[in-house]
């Protein structure tokens, strides 16, 4: 379980949000495993994935939290928003209702993350163009209005998936470079490379369960 050598400069924390069934877990799986997971069970609470990427020659570890989509779970998943450097907000291009709910997801993302959090809009299932229910132009206009970066992706074919995750990281990195993202802030969502802790705090003499 030891962390091993830290061969990256930063950790960026991401969250993936959006309605149920839009393909959040599949996007994560495609990004971390480069595979499409058909019939992937729905997420309860949160799932977690990581991958190390490279931005401007710097190795960055992405720590990605994939959340449950059903409204009922928001009370539980909200606690994961805090300290996210990037938020991927996903809708399904074949289901308009998932697009219509974006403003409520955006409100949550804005309220619960810090002002520098990069929010990236993803229209998933671009492979199902025949069943399209939301046009690219409409979503692009929504993204521009709200200052979001936008891409249509397909977790199934992998189209643009890599780009969405990497572009978000580039933006975050840019924010670090130009100083708009303060790394000393507790909820910046970015951790610079740190040395492994020698003794886990509180764990040194705690090998015995005192129950």
């Amino acid at each position: 379980m030891a962390a091993g050598p830290y061969n990256y400069s930063y950790i960026f924390k991401y969250i993936i949000i959006g309605d149920m069934g839009v393909g959040k877990s599949c996007l994560l799986h495609q990004f971390t495993e480069k595979k499409f997971m058909a019939d992937c069970p729905h997420t309860i609470g949160v799932e977690f994935g990581t991958r190390i990427i490279e931005v401007s020659g710097q190795k960055i570890k992405l720590q990605i939290w994939d959340t449950a989509g059903q409204e009922r779970f928001r009370a539980v998943t909200r606690s994961y928003y805090r300290g996210a450097a990037g938020a991927l907000m996903v809708y399904d291009i074949t289901r308009r209702s998932t697009y219509n709910h974006l403003s409520s997801w955006l409100t949550d993302a804005r309220n619960l993350t810090n002002p520098n959090t990069v929010i990236f809009l993803i229209g998933n299932k671009s492979d199902l163009d025949a069943q399209r229910d939301v046009t690219y132009e409409e979503a692009k206009a929504f993204a521009d209005e709200n200052g979001l970066t936008f891409l249509e992706c397909s977790a199934k074919t992998g189209e643009n998936v890599e780009d969405a995750f990497l572009e978000t990281a580039r933006k975050i990195y840019q924010n670090i470079q130009d100083g708009s993202l303060d790394l000393n802030q507790a909820d910046s969502g970015v951790q610079p490379k740190q040395l492994p802790r020698t003794t886990p705090a509180g764990g040194g003499d705690a090998k015995q369960c005192n129950c």
Binding site: M20, R197, A201, G202, K207, N210
Partner: protein
Amino acid sequence: MATEYEVLSYPPPPDDSDLIPMCPVLLDNRAEIEQEAISQSFRSPPLSKANFDAMHDSEGRIVCDHAFRRAVFRGGIEEEIRQEAWRVLFGYFPSNTTAKEREALRTQKECRYAALKRRWRNVLLAKYPDFDLSRPDNYLFDTGPAYKCAPSANVCQAATSCCHSVASMEAEIYANRVPCHIESVKEALQYISKDVPRTDRHYHLFKEDNNPNLLVLRDALVTFTLLQPEVGYVQGMNDIFARFFIVFQSESTAFWCFVYYMTTVQRGFLAEGMLERIKSLRMLLQCLDPDLTSYLYVCEVSELIFCHKWLLLSFQREFEIDDGIRLLEILSSHHLELDSFQGQRARAQCSKNDSTLDLMSCEFGFDLFFAVAIFTLYRDKIFLCTDGSQVHQFISRLSGQLQMDQVLMQAERLFYRYCKKSVLDSFVLLASLIKSEWFMWIDFIVCDIGANFHHCLLSQGGTTHCADGEAAYCSNRGARWPKCGTCPGASPGPYESSIHNILNGFSFRHFSF
């Protein structure tokens, strides 16, 4: 085997050592009680047909429900009798019904399910006649169904075979009284049709496209939302219903047992209930393993949100389906709950006839002990995680790795330990109360309730001379258990019981802990 922990942890003892001998019996017997708790924790083979049959009387009633539940708790149920036993365990038949009564109940339930299902299908088809009910992934847009079909296809679908004519008439009346709004059906379908095609698809009963069992999942879940509109459909119910269907392979029986199960856990499926459950787990972990809780706090994961899945799904995703089903029956036996017969007995045994303040929260169901057991079994590994994401990753990788019986035995040990600890803590609390500034309050309470106090003593079998103890109590100011001055040889039992009653009855009213 798990690390065996020996030392009990208490809140910091009152600094005046004079107070410690207050509960000498319990302190001296600590090791003994511990041993006893451990010896009570064991697993048995699953409940066999022979043993199950022996639990019935000649007319088919279960003679002792408690013995049945204990047997299920100890080892689960053999496959051969699982359906029959689950009908009792999940309230399809009350355990005291005879075989004859069960036949009538079965007819009633089958007809009622068919009628309920017809109810929403008719409402749906009246508004959207070209909705294709034969596609489990079909749902409704604002504009209409996602997949259309020729209306004639639905007519055949809607005609469900029905049973007894009187029963079916009764069922029809019953179903028509259940409110059914097209908007709710629409919403339920929208969610359910997204989840059904991704429910345990690797399991043989749900494999392959166009599997009719997917329609069963869909129909039963939509029908459920009719009966429990305030809960509605919540993701995760599909996983649970699938377990019931795997066991029964009968839509209506699985449905009614699922409905029963959901009534026992439904609070956990409401938004505030989810947070409450996680909070209860935090409290229990804090109580049973404070060091681990502190460490999780350092890692910024002490909120335990990642345990939500365990609690919501009764650990179904942590085990293979067969084991998951066994765990579901074991947890549903409710044999070892703080408010169960067995739980009360464990508490009574721990208190050994001494009076206590009962601070235990009965919200701590056995599933919470099961969750804490996982933490304590793997605590050494958790201490090696250097941050929250590692803890999260470690915990999620436990899925499929857990030894169920090992966790169950650990959970049982923790249960007894908690019973005992809460008893011991009560004494420490009482000690600190008497010692601390609250003493003023106790003084006040004791004076305030003088009449009741006297009454308590009498009702506890004390005699009037013990009333002098009241004065002794006030003058001793808690340095030791107040003795009854006029009766040196008297057993302290009644007196302590009185203190217990008084504090139980009054202290909680005067201030909360």
